[in-house]
C-alpha cells in the first residue's frame, strides 16, 4: 500500500513564502530549531485522492453493522454533529469569561442533571474516557478512606469485569483481588463473603457485566459491602442496557462512571476523544474532581471552591464537544426515548442470541441484556474464534469483540445495539450460519480469511514481536 510519501517528487512543490515585508525580526533561537520535518511534495489532487482512497478502506458504523461487544458502537445521529459544529460551541475560547459562554455552561449543567436523572448520582464531566472516570473514582475511594483515617488497601473485582478496572485501582495503589463468577455468570456471593474484611476499600462491578448479564444478586452484594463499610463502584460502560429502566444509585452503587461516547452516541474508536464522567452519591459529592458547573444569581459558573475535591483530572472542562454531542442526543430522545433505547438494545441482543444459539456454543444460557457471549467451543476442524472473526469481515461486518471476557474460552462478544434493524441483524445471522457451514465443509476458507478486505490475514505474532512503528521510507 502506498503512503503519501510514495507520491512525492522532489521539486514538485515550488511554493515559496512571500517576502516578509518587514525588516528586522528575531530569528528563532537555535535551541528550538530541531531537524526539519520532511514533508512530501505532492499536488492537491494527489493528497485528496490518497486520503479519500484510504478512507474507503476503513470500516465504521456509517458503513455497516459493528457488533463490537462492550463498545456500544451505535449509530451516531448526524444532528449531534450539526450542533457540535455551530460556531457558538466550536469557536469559543476555553478561558472565556463565564458571562460570555453561558450557553456552553448551561449545556454542561443540564447534561450533568440529565445524567443524575438517569443514574441517581451527581457528576463531574471532567474525565476524558471511561478508564479516566474509573481512575477518578478510585481516587475518590482513596480520599474517602483517608478522611475516615482507615487504611484499606484492597479492591475486589470480579473476573467478568472490564479489563481497565484492575489497572485503574492499581494506579491508585490498591491491591486487586479477583472474585470468580458462578456457573450462572453472577458474582460468587459466598466467595465475596469470605473475602470481605476490614481491609476491603471497595468492590468494582461492571453492570451489566461483560457477559451481558445483569447480576441478580446486586442488592445482596451492595448490602454486604455496606455492612463491611466498603464502597461499591459501578462501571457504567454498559449503561445502554439499563438507562431509563433502573438507576445505578438504586442498585446500591456509591460511585460510577458512564461512557458518554458509548451510551450517548458520540463517535468513538481509534482512541478518542471520549468522555467518562464520574458520578457519586450525595455523601461523596464533595470529592468530585473540579470544576463543576453551578448555577447562581449571576447565571452559570465554574465552581472551583470545593476544598475536599480530589482536584483537577483534566485541563479545562473535559472534552466539551463530546459532552455537547451526548447532550444533543439525550435531549433529542427525551426520557421516554432513552428508555426505548435501552429496551430496544436488549431486545435486539436477545433476538440475535435466539438466532445464533443453535449455530454456536452458548457458554452461559440465560436471557441477556444488551450483549451476549458465544464461543468456538464446538467448532469442527480446528476452527477458532480468531478464524471466525476474520471471516466475518469477508461478509461485510465489523468483527465482534473476541477472546474477552477471559474466563470464557474463545469468547465472541456480540452487541448489536438498538440502531440495527431486524434486516441487518438477519443478514448477520445468515453470515454466521454460512461461516458455520464453511467450518464443517470448507474449513480452509475460514482459516485463511479474510479475502475480501484490502489487507488479508496479518501475522499478528510478527506484528507484536517486531512492530514497525515509524515510516522509514
Amino acid at each position: 500500500m502506498d503512503t503519501i510519501f510514495d507520491y512525492s517528487v522532489s521539486g514538485k512543490n515550488r511554493f515559496q513564502l512571500p517576502e516578509a515585508g518587514c525588516e528586522d525580526y528575531d530569528p528563532i533561537p537555535e535551541e528550538y530549531c530541531t531537524v526539519a520535518t520532511v514533508l512530501p511534495e505532492v499536488s492537491e489532487v494527489e493528497v485528496v485522492r490518497h486520503y479519500t482512497n484510504l478512507s474507503r478502506m476503513n470500516f465504521g458504523v456509517d458503513n455497516g453493522m459493528y457488533p463490537l461487544g462492550s463498545c456500544t458502537m451505535k449509530y451516531n445521529p448526524k444532528i449531534n454533529e450539526k450542533i457540535a459544529a455551530m460556531e457558538g460551541f466550536s469557536a469559543i475560547h476555553p478561558l472565556a469569561d463565564a458571562s460570555a459562554v453561558q450557553g456552553c455552561l448551561r449545556v454542561l449543567y443540564e447534561l450533568a442533571a440529565a445524567l443524575r436523572e438517569i443514574t441517581g448520582m451527581t457528576f463531574s464531566l471532567c474525565p476524558a474516557a471511561g478508564s479516566h472516570g474509573e481512575l477518578s473514582g478510585a481516587m475518590i475511594i482513596k480520599k474517602y478512606f483517608q478522611d475516615l483515617k482507615e487504611a484499606r488497601s484492597v479492591v475486589l473485582i470480579p473476573d467478568s469485569a472490564h479489563g481497565t478496572n484492575p489497572a485503574s485501582v492499581a494506579m491508585c495503589g490498591f491491591t486487586v483481588k479477583e472474585i470468580p463468577s458462578n456457573s450462572d455468570g453472577d458474582v460468587d456471593v459466598e466467595r465475596l463473603r469470605q473475602l470481605l474484611d476490614g481491609n476491603v476499600a471497595a468492590m468494582m462491578l461492571t453492570s451489566p457485566n461483560t457477559l451481558g448479564l445483569f447480576d441478580r444478586n446486586i442488592r445482596e452484594i451492595s448490602r454486604l459491602l455496606r455492612e463491611n463499610g466498603s464502597l461499591f463502584y459501578g462501571d457504567g460502560a454498559n449503561l445502554n442496557a439499563t438507562a431509563g429502566r433502573a438507576r445505578m444509585a438504586d442498585m446500591g452503587f456509591d460511585i460510577m462512571h458512564t461512557n458518554l461516547h458509548k451510551t450517548f452516541s458520540t463517535p468513538h474508536g481509534g482512541g478518542g476523544p471520549g468522555s467518562g464522567p464520574v458520578g457519586v452519591v450525595d455523601r461523596l459529592a464533595k470529592y468530585l474532581p473540579v470544576p463543576l458547573v453551578a448555577k447562581g444569581a449571576q447565571g452559570y459558573y465554574l465552581e472551583y471552591d470545593r476544598p475536599d475535591s480530589i482536584g483537577r483530572v483534566h485541563s479545562f472542562y473535559g472534552n466539551f464537544l463530546v459532552a455537547l454531542r451526548a447532550y444533543a442526543y439525550i435531549r433529542s430522545l427525551g426520557a421516554e426515548g432513552i428508555r426505548d433505547m435501552s429496551d430496544t438494545a436488549v431486545l435486539n441482543a436477545n433476538y440475535l442470541l435466539a438466532c445464533l444459539r443453535d449455530l454456536y456454543k452458548l457458554p452461559i444460557d440465560r436471557k441477556c441484556m444488551h450483549e451476549f457471549v458465544i464461543s468456538d467451543g464446538d467448532m469442527p476442524n480446528g476452527v477458532t474464534t480468531n478464524d471466525i472473526s476474520k471471516r466475518i469481515l469477508d461478509y461485510g461486518f465489523h468483527s465482534p469483540t473476541v477472546y474477552f471476557p477471559l474466563h470464557i474460552e474463545g469468547a465472541i462478544m456480540i452487541e448489536p445495539t438498538e440502531t440495527e434493524t431486524k434486516k441487518s441483524m438477519d443478514t448477520f445471522v445468515n453470515a454466521m450460519a454460512e461461516i458455520r457451514r464453511e467450518a464443517y465443509e470448507e474449513p480452509e476458507k475460514v482459516k485463511t480469511a479474510p479475502r475480501n478486505t484490502p489487507v488479508h490475514r496479518v501475522d499478528a505474532v510478527i506484528a507484536a514481536r517486531k512492530p514497525v512503528l515509524v515510516w522509514e521510507g
Partner: protein
C-alpha cells in the same frame, strides 16, 4: 498432551520451579501454560533483588491472545532474570523449561516447595481442566 518433566515442582497458576541447590531455584511457566497462551510476544521481567511472597505477581507475559500475570511459586528474593526474553519472547513457546526460563529466585522457606505439586499431581491437575 503437554510436556511435564519429573524433576520440577509446579504451582496451581502453571509456574514451575527447578531447584539448582537447596536455596536457589529457576522458575518459568509450564508447557501447558504456553500452549494455552499461544504465541508470546512480550515479557515484562521482575527487578533483580526484589523480595516476593508466595503467589505474588512477579512478571507479565503477553501473547497475541491475552496478557497474563506470572506469580512466584515460592517466596524469596529475585536473583536473576532471563534478559534474552526481552528480544526473543518466543523462547517461552519453544523451550518453556529450558531457554524460556523467566527468573531465578533465592528461596526463603524451602518448606514451601512441599506445597507445590510434583509432575504426577500437576498432570492430574491439568487434565482436570483447571
Amino acid at each position: 498432551m503437554s510436556s511435564i518433566p519429573d524433576d520440577l515442582r509446579y504451582s496451581k497458576d502453571h509456574e514451575w520451579v527447578r531447584m539448582e541447590d537447596e536455596f536457589n531455584g529457576v522458575c518459568g511457566i509450564t508447557d501447558h501454560a504456553q500452549e494455552m497462551l499461544t504465541d508470546i510476544v512480550f515479557v515484562e521481567l521482575p527487578q533483580v533483588d526484589m523480595e516476593v511472597g508466595v503467589r505474588e505477581q512477579v512478571a507479565v507475559v503477553e501473547s497475541v491472545k491475552a496478557v497474563s500475570d506470572v506469580y512466584s511459586p515460592v517466596s524469596g528474593r529475585i536473583i536473576g532474570v532471563n534478559t534474552q526474553l526481552e528480544e526473543s519472547p518466543e523462547l517461552i513457546n519453544d523451550d518453556p523449561y529450558g531457554k524460556g526460563w523467566i527468573f531465578k529466585i533465592e528461596v526463603k522457606h524451602p518448606k514451601e516447595l512441599e506445597d507445590l505439586m510434583d509432575a504426577a499431581a500437576y498432570s492430574e491437575y491439568v487434565e482436570s481442566g483447571a
